[in-house]
Symmetry: C2
Amino acid sequence: MDSDEFAVAGRQMIDYVIHYLENIRDRRVFPTVKPGYLRELIPKDAPEKGETWEAVFGDIERVIMPGITHWHSPRFNAFFPTANSYPAILADILSDAIGCIGFTWAASPSCTELEVVMMDWLAKLLKLPAEFLACEGGKGGGVIQGTASEATVVGCLAAKSRKIKAIKEEDKEHPEITERDILSKLMCYASDQAHSSVERAALLGALNIRLIKSNEDFSMDPKLLEEAIQKDKADGLIPFYVVATLGSTPCCAFDSLVDIGPICQREKVWLHVDAAYAGSAFICPEFRHYMEGIEYADSFNFNPHKWMLVNFDCSAMWIKDSAELVEAFNVDPLYLRHDKQGLVPDYRHWQIPLGRRFRSLKLWFVLRMYGVEGIQGHIRQQVALAKEFEQLLKDDNRFEIVVPVRMGLVCLRLKGSNELSEKLLKRINESGKIYVTPSKLREKYIIRFCVCATRTNSEDIKYSWKVISDFAKEILEENKHDAKKPVAQLATAEE
Amino acid sequence: MDSDEFAVAGRQMIDYVIHYLENIRDRRVFPTVKPGYLRELIPKDAPEKGETWEAVFGDIERVIMPGITHWHSPRFNAFFPTANSYPAILADILSDAIGCIGFTWAASPSCTELEVVMMDWLAKLLKLPAEFLACEGGKGGGVIQGTASEATVVGCLAAKSRKIKAIKEEDKEHPEITERDILSKLMCYASDQAHSSVERAALLGALNIRLIKSNEDFSMDPKLLEEAIQKDKADGLIPFYVVATLGSTPCCAFDSLVDIGPICQREKVWLHVDAAYAGSAFICPEFRHYMEGIEYADSFNFNPHKWMLVNFDCSAMWIKDSAELVEAFNVDPLYLRHDKQGLVPDYRHWQIPLGRRFRSLKLWFVLRMYGVEGIQGHIRQQVALAKEFEQLLKDDNRFEIVVPVRMGLVCLRLKGSNELSEKLLKRINESGKIYVTPSKLREKYIIRFCVCATRTNSEDIKYSWKVISDFAKEILEENKHDAKKPVAQLATAEE
C-alpha cells in the first residue's frame, strides 16, 4: 500500500468510523453469533499474494461487525465504560505514525517529557497532594500504565522492595535473615470487594494476600484490617501492602482512606489506592470527598481510559517516591543506557513491559480539546443520567436498589428470590435490546446497570428502563404462574 | 469535536502522517533538545475551556517533533526495528473506533475469535509444530501479548504452576511440603546474553534465576546448562523454567534448541523460546534452521511489532497446553462470567492485564495486504541490506565484524581499544546524521548497526557507511596524534 492508496483508504476509514459511531444505536448491542462463527468466514491460511484494500475494507462488515459487542452503544450498560473520543483517535493515529518506543528518555524525548507534564496536569486537576507531582521537584511523579492491574502489580513490587530494604537495615545484627525468609512472610491486604486483579497481583508475585471483610456499605472494615495486621504480626508475618479501592467493580463502593490511611502509616505498610473507574470523577470538586485521606497513599491509580474520554489504554498512576520503583526494577544493560540518565525518568523502570507507545498524546489532545469544563460536563451528565435511572427504579416497587447510586453505576434487583433477577438478566441480554452484567453482593444476585457510552441521553435511559420494566413484568407473571405448578415441573423450567 | 470536525481533522491527520513518513529522511534522526525542554513549551495547567483543533494540530510541529527520535527514518540504526505500516495504522483506527475490551469471548466475540484464527495463520506461516495451533483441536493456541517481556512473565507463571502441581501430586506421601517451600527452591535459567526482561520476570515472581555462560558464538552453552541443573538438583533446588533466545539483543545470537530441548524434556523443565526480533524471519524457509528443535518448546514468542510490519504492540505467543495458563491465573469473579465459557478462550486468563484492545485487526490487515510474499520480501530485503553493509565493513581493514551477520543486525567495532569505538559511537550520535546504540560482548565494546526502517534502501546504507567511515577517519587521526602526547594530557582529553 503506497501513500496514494493510504490517502484514499485513510479517508474511507475516517468516514467509516464516523458512520459507525454516529449510527451505533441501529446495531444490536450484543451479537447473535455462536462461538467459532468467525473461522468459517475467512480462509484457513494467510494469502500468498497481497489483497486489495477494497477486499479488506469490505470484510469489516461481513466478518468483524457481526461478532462485535458494541461498547459505545447507549444500549451497552455492562461492566464499566471504556472511553472513546474523536480527539483520542486522532492522537492515536499520530502515535502510530511516529511509532517510537519510549523506554528511555533518549529513545524519544518528547514521548517521556509529554507524559511527565500530562501526569502533572492530571494530578492538579484531581487535586492530588503535591508530593505526587513531578513539577514539585521531589521524587514524586506519574506514569501511564496499560491497565489498573499493572499498576497494582507495580505498586506491589515497589512496596516489597521497600519493606525488604527496611528490614535488612533494621536487622543488621541479624544477617542470617535472608530475602527468601522475608518474602515468605510478606502479607498483602485488600477488601473482599476489591477487583480480582489484586489477587492476581499477589499470585504473580508469589505473595500472601488476605481479603478483609467489607462492612454494610461494602467498604473495607478498618477495624478488621487493623485486627488482621496485628494478628499477622503476632504470628511473625510482615504486613507490607494494602490496596484500597475507590469505586469497586461490584457496586462502586468506596474504602475510607481516612480510616485505612493512619493504620498503614503507623504500621509502615504501603498504601496503594485503586480508583480505576471512579477516579475520573475527582475532576469535579463535588466528588472529591470520596478520596479524602489520599495524602496517606504511597501510590494512586485511575483509568482515564474508562471515564475520561481517552481511548484504552491509558491508566494513570502516581507514586510519591519514584526511586523506590526504579530500585525495585533495577536491571540496567548497556544497550539501554544513554548519557542523560537521571535527569528525567526512564519509564522502563516504572512498568512491567520494556516497550511503550506514545500514549500521553491522547491525554494531551483530550484535555485540550474538551478543556476541564468539557470533561467535568461529561462526568456530571453521566452521573445525572444514572440518577434519572435510579429515580425510575425508586418509583417502581417491584425493584430494589441495592446500594446508593454515587456515580454512573446502578445496582438493582427484583424484590424476592435471586432466581427472579437471574432470569431477568438472561431475558434482557438474550433480547439484544440492551446489555447488562451481573454481580453478587453478599448473598444477593444483582444486575449492574452502568451509564457507559458518551452518546447516552435521557431518551436512551427511558428506553433501557422500558426494556427492563417490560421483561420484569413478563418474568413476574410467569413466576406467579410457575408458583402454582408442582416443584418437579419448576426445576425443569429452570434448566 | 463533532463528526464534521472529525471528518476534516481526520483527513488532515492522514495527510500529515503521509507527509511525515514519506519525507522522514529530511529530519535529524536524533533530536538536539535538552532534558526538560518540553515543559517550557506548553502551559503549566490544562485549559479550562476546550481549544480548537487548529491549535492542537499546530503544536505537533512546535512541541512534539523537536523531541522525537525518528524510529522510522532510514538514518535510525539503533536498538531493533519497531514496525510501522499503512495497513496497520488503518487497523488501529478501526480498533480505536470499535473500542471494545476483549477480556472474555462475550465482551466482543470477534475480538477473541479473529485473534485465535490469526495466531493460527501466523503459526502456520512459521511452520510451528501442530501442537501450538488452536485449529488442531488440542489444548494449544496463540495469544497476542503486549511485549516479549510479558510473554516471558506469563510463561514463567504457567511453568511455576505446572511444577508445583507436579510436585504435590508426586509427593502425596509428604503433605508437609508447602507451596512456599517449593517456591523458595524453584530455579529459572537463561543465557547470559538473554534480554534483561528475563531477569525482570524472575524478579517480579520472586524467583531465583541463574544466567548460564554463553559459548564463543554467544549462544547458551548446553553443557553448562546441564551442569547447573544437576548441581542445583543435588543442592535440593527445583529447576522449572528455561528461557532460550533466538536472536539475542546484544548481537543476534541463537541458542541451540536441539541441544537445550532434550535437557529440558528429560528434566521436566518448561522451555520458553524468546525469538522477539528474529522470529519474523522464520516466515522465510531459509531462516527456519535457526529454530530447529522448536518442538521441544512449551511456549514460543516473537514480536510481529518488531520486524513484521505490524505496529506496536503485537507480541505473538503460543503455548502447547493453554489449560496450564488458565490454571495459573485462575481468579474468576461473577461479573466476568458468561454462558459460553470453555468453548473459546477467555484471553483474560492468558495475560497479566485484564483489559485488551482489538490487536488482531492489525495482523489481519497486514497479512492480507502484504501477503506472505510481501512480508518475505520485506525480511529478505532488510537482511540483504545488512549484508551489503557488512561487505563495506569487510572491505575496510580499520573495522572488525564481531559476530557473523545473520539477520538485519551488524555488530562492528574499530580494531584496537574499546575507547576508539566508544568515541566513534559518541561522534556519530552527536552528529545526528545516523543513530546507533552500543553493546558489550565479553570485554569488547561494540556498535550495533541495525537495518530498521521499511524505507531503508541501498543509498541509505551507503550514506550510513560514509558517516561511520568519515568519523572513523577523524578519530583514528586524532588518536594517532594523541598517542604522541604525554599520558596526563591524554586523560584530560578523554574526560
